[in-house]
Amino acid sequence: MVRNVQSPLTPAVLHILLALATEERHGYGIMKQVESDSQRKVRMGPGTLYGSLGRMLEAGLIQESEKRVDPELDDERRIYYGISALGRTTLAAELQRYSDVLAVARRSSRARSTFAHVS
């Protein structure tokens, strides 16, 4: 299995990892969660979603889950995806990176004036 995780993560990969951080989801579930997390600002189509899922599986960030829900409640053929240990570590590192960048920006006086203009 390939272990090739590039940082910074693409927005799609970051959103998918965030969506899977709380629970295992199938493709449509991930799509809905990404929309909900971003307050419908991020729209992810099936092409982007499954392309990213393929690369994330290859990189070991996520894994196919054994979970199959009750066929009466849902389609039992749906494949659920879950975040792996590597995925969690990568997500934590990426969020830390964002946090550090934000801290630097906040410390900068130029950034402060930008924030003042924005707010």
């Binding site: 493709g27 982007t48 393929g54 053929r77």
Partner: protein
């Protein structure tokens, strides 16, 4: 009823579009993508949102993704082809060195035939040549094995 029919038609056309994906990708994710598309259309319909704009957007997005998958696949193949070519060069170079060394050893043995004393002592020449032959042989075998593995990955990625 007509909304139901247009939903089914959109799904059927989307399934046809998915056939343009590389086979391996389609077999792994095609069904899930189709299901996700159908679910998204269904939700938009139940929420009373327009379907046409969404369908056009998803088709365009998927076409871009299909092109991306083919480009990625071609790049990977090109990299593997380069690796196979490199390993072939290493293998044949190592074989050539081995053959030359064996020929050299045989020539030295032939020339030293019948000579005695220091003139007949060819160990100092033959020993390094034999070592180089052995190393070249090992390199050739390793390169051949790795080349076969790389070729298998090209045929069955």
């Amino acid at each position: 009823m007509s909304a139901e029919i247009s939903l089914q038609r959109s799904r059927a056309w989307y399934a046809r579009l998915l056939r343009l994906y590389p086979r391996q990708f389609r077999e792994r994710f095609g069904e899930g993508m189709e299901q996700t598309f159908a679910d998204s259309c269904w939700r938009r319909r139940t929420e009373g949102e327009g379907l046409l704009g969404f369908v056009v957007w998803v088709f365009a997005e998927t076409i871009v993704a299909i092109i991306g998958e083919h480009v990625t696949r071609l790049r990977r193949h090109a990299m593997r082809d380069d690796a196979v070519r490199f390993l072939k060069t290493v293998k044949y170079s190592a074989i050539a060195v081995s053959v030359l060394m064996v020929a050299g050893i045989l020539t030295v043995m032939f020339l030293a035939r019948g000579k005695t004393g220091d003139d007949g002592d060819i160990a100092g020449v033959v020993a390094p040549a034999l070592l180089l032959t052995s190393v070249s042989g090992v390199v050739a075998v390793v390169a051949a094995v790795r080349q076969k593995r790389a070729q298998r990955r090209v045929v069955h990625p």
